[in-house]
Symmetry: C2
Subunit: 221 residues, 2 copies
């Protein structure tokens, strides 16, 4: 079996290297077109779509926003984001557990990038696999929900290490689940002291303005 693992690792490295090269190309494409792009990662039901919706609502009157929504099947997320006021492309990955740069690059070819100010990429709902595949966005945002329990940060260090920003969502449910957002924040600072952390509730719109200020300091809302 050892030989098999060796083979697997070589190929995986090769894929990651190619993905990294492609991420640099995409990054340059975003810079050339002055697009602020964000990769939104997080587990199923953490509130990635809800977060994008709240941001779109605040930004849509002054900015052109585009979203790429990754999911195994269905266009539920795309429809919800479109309703909030952004142009959206749904990518159905089938059984694939993360978005990669080849898919993003192909999708960008169909979009008039000159017309876009802000791009949100909603990654596939999975707190593990997307971390290894940088997509060339300006920042990577990881969304976690307080309802996921007290241990999820310490148990998934790799994803949090890859994050520039972490959003602790659903903090309005803290009293009902017995998990303190401050405790999660302490764990996050231990795992990745460089990440900026925001405590939010997409339902109550708590914390959204503070996050917006971090993403677009020049934006007056």
């Amino acid at each position: 079996m050892e030989e098999q693992y060796e083979k697997e690792i070589v190929i995986e490295t090769d894929f990651l290297k190619k993905n990294e090269q492609c991420a640099n190309d995409i990054e340059n494409l975003f810079k050339a077109n002055q697009i602020n792009a964000y990769d939104i990662m997080g587990s199923i039901g953490a509130g990635k779509t809800s977060l994008i919706i709240e941001l779109v609502k605040k930004l849509k009157d002054k900015h052109n926003i585009y979203a790429i929504a990754g999911d195994l099947t269905t266009d539920i997320d795309a429809e919800r984001i479109k309703e909030a006021g952004a142009d959206v492309k749904q990518i159905n990955t089938g059984k694939e557990c993360h978005l990669d740069t080849t898919t993003i690059k192909n999708t960008l070819q169909d979009i008039n990038l000159k017309e876009i100010d802000i791009l949100f990429v909603e990654n596939v709902g999975n707190l593990i696999c997307p971390a290894d595949y940088r997509l060339g966005t300006k920042k990577r945002i990881v969304v976690i929900a307080i309802t996921e329990g007290p241990y999820m940060v310490l148990k998934h260090p790799y994803t949090f290490l890859s994050a520039d920003i972490v959003v602790i969502n659903k903090i309005d449910l803290s009293p009902y689940v017995g998990v303190e957002p401050d405790d999660l924040e302490k764990d996050l600072h231990k795992v990745n002291p460089k990440a900026t952390v925001f405590q939010c509730s997409c339902r109550n719109r708590e914390g959204i303005d503070a996050l917006l200020k971090e993403l677009l300091p020049e934006f007056r809302y």
Copy 2:
């Protein structure tokens, strides 16, 4: 890029085929030793560990229980299950997003199988990747939490198709998140009419006895 994908698919099929063969070996091993084994899958924070703990508490006085807890890092889950009264082996998968049969087979070699009645395998917290890797257990149980929102069943059909039993957990939080367990159950019946569904709250111990009756009909508690 097309050639690369072709290569990837061939290798993946090969891995899945080998995993399937190994799953059959493990299944025979469980049958020969009269072990009731269950693969518990589900997203991060769905309540897989809590469910195992509640089942262990009910069963430990009359049965010898062993648990294999899969996680990227830490032994938090293993410690919690051990405290409830089961022998536990923690498997840290590093960056690997699911358990496979090679890992399970190696782990079983260190255990005296003759002394075990019931084995719980807690898979890595991920609603996507573990579905493809059958582990040779008697049944596969998928745990979802009501806090993950209203769309998670329709958006992840493959995992639910692989399930014999689905546990809808955290139903006590239904009023606070506005998601009805009955609606999720309807979605589940659409996606996989053969799966048996239980609505549970590990916190209130609601639904645990009904699930136990399904797992071990002969067990009187």
